[in-house]
Assembly symmetry: C2
Homo-oligomer: 185 residues x 2
C-alpha cells in the first residue's frame, strides 16, 4: 500500500482561501485530471478534521465507496457510512491499514497539516500536485511551515490546455539513484 | 519593455532558507536552464535591498553588464558600477525605464517583496519559475502573503532530467481569451 497525495494548489501553493473555500477551483472542473483512474487505485483515504468539516459543507459526501479515516482527537457524531474517526497517532493508523492488506493505495486527502504529519513520518510515497494557473494571494497552505525539508524525485509532468500542470513526484530513497553495478542483478 | 520574473523556487515555494542562503540550489547548477539566452534579452534589472545585500555576500557582482536598480529608501555606499539605488516609488522607476527606451526587457530579480510590489502595480508581464524537486520546509517565500490574487496564462512547461521543471506564465489580459467574433478583424 502506497500513501499518495493528489491535490490542487495555486502557484503560490494554497489549497483554499483563508476561510477554507475551494470555489476558486470551479473554472477548472472541465477536465478530469486523471481522477477516475486515480480513484480506482485507492482503497482508503485519510483526512484531517478541518478538511472533513469542509467536505461536509460541500454537500453530498463524495467518498461513499471508500473507508475514510478522519484524524480527530475527539469523537465525531454522525459520520457518513464507511467514515471513521481516528484519535490515535498516525503511525498506529498506518499499522492498522497495513494489517488490513487492502488491495489499493491510501489517499492522503489533506489538508496540509495531515500531509505534513505523514511526511514527517516518512510515509508519503507520491505527490501528485496540480498547479492551477492562478495566485490565490493568501489562504491555507498545502505545505505548512515548518514542513520537513527533503529531496523529491520528479516522475512526470503533464499540462492541460487550460493551463493546469500536473507535477508527479516520488521519494528519493537512499541509494535509489545509484543502482548496484555488479552482483546477481 | 517587458518586466520578467526568472527565478527558482522549492516545491513549497521558497527562494531561500530562513537566513537567506541559496546553497540548496547548488546540486542543480549542472544545467543552464536557458539563462544565457534569457540574459541576452535583458537590458536592466531591479532588486530589493535585502536581495542586493545577499547577492553581495555571494562574492563577485554577477551583473556587471546590466543597469541594476536597487530599491532602497536609504542611500547605499559602494554600489558596483552600473548599480543604482532607487528611493522613489516603483511606478516612477517604471516611468524612467520606459523613457530610456532600452532595447531589451527588465528582469525583476527579487526578492518576493519586490516582485509583489510590481505585481500589485500590474507590471509583471511574465513569470518564468523553476520548480526544484525539493521541500525547503521553511524560508523566504517567493510570493509573500498577501500577494495579489489573479489569473495567469500558462505559456509552456519544460522539465529537465534532474527533476527541475520550468513553468512559464504570461498575464491573462481582460478580454484576451474572448477575441471579438465580429467586426473588421
Amino acid at each position: 500500500m502506497r500513501f499518495r497525495v493528489y491535490i490542487a494548489m495555486s502557484l503560490d501553493v494554497y489549497i483554499a482561501t483563508p476561510d477554507g473555500a475551494v470555489d476558486w477551483l470551479e473554472p477548472f472542473f472541465e477536465e478530469d485530471y486523471g481522477y477516475e483512474s486515480f480513484i480506482r487505485e485507492i482503497s482508503c483515504a485519510v483526512m484531517g478534521r478541518v478538511t472533513y468539516e469542509q467536505v461536509l459543507d460541500f454537500g453530498e459526501w463524495p467518498y461513499p465507496d471508500h473507508d475514510v479515516y478522519v484524524l480527530s482527537r475527539s469523537a465525531i457524531d454522525g459520520l457518513p457510512e464507511r467514515a471513521f474517526a481516528w484519535s490515535e497517532e498516525p503511525e498506529a493508523l498506518v499499522g492498522r491499514l497495513e494489517e488490513r492488506k487492502l488491495d489499493g493505495d491510501c489517499w492522503l486527502i489533506g489538508g496540509g497539516q495531515t500531509i505534513r504529519e505523514f511526511e514527517r513520518l516518512g510515509y508519503v510515497d507520491e505527490y501528485e500536485v496540480f498547479v492551477m494557473p492562478a495566485f490565490l494571494g493568501a489562504g491555507i497552505p498545502l505545505f505548512p511551515s515548518p514542513f520537513p525539508a527533503g529531496a523529491l524525485q520528479l516522475v512526470s509532468v503533464m499540462a492541460w490546455e487550460n493551463g493546469v500542470v500536473r507535477l508527479l513526484y516520488g521519494r528519493t530513497l537512499a541509494g535509489e539513484q545509484d543502482p548496484p553495478t555488479d552482483g546477481n542483478q
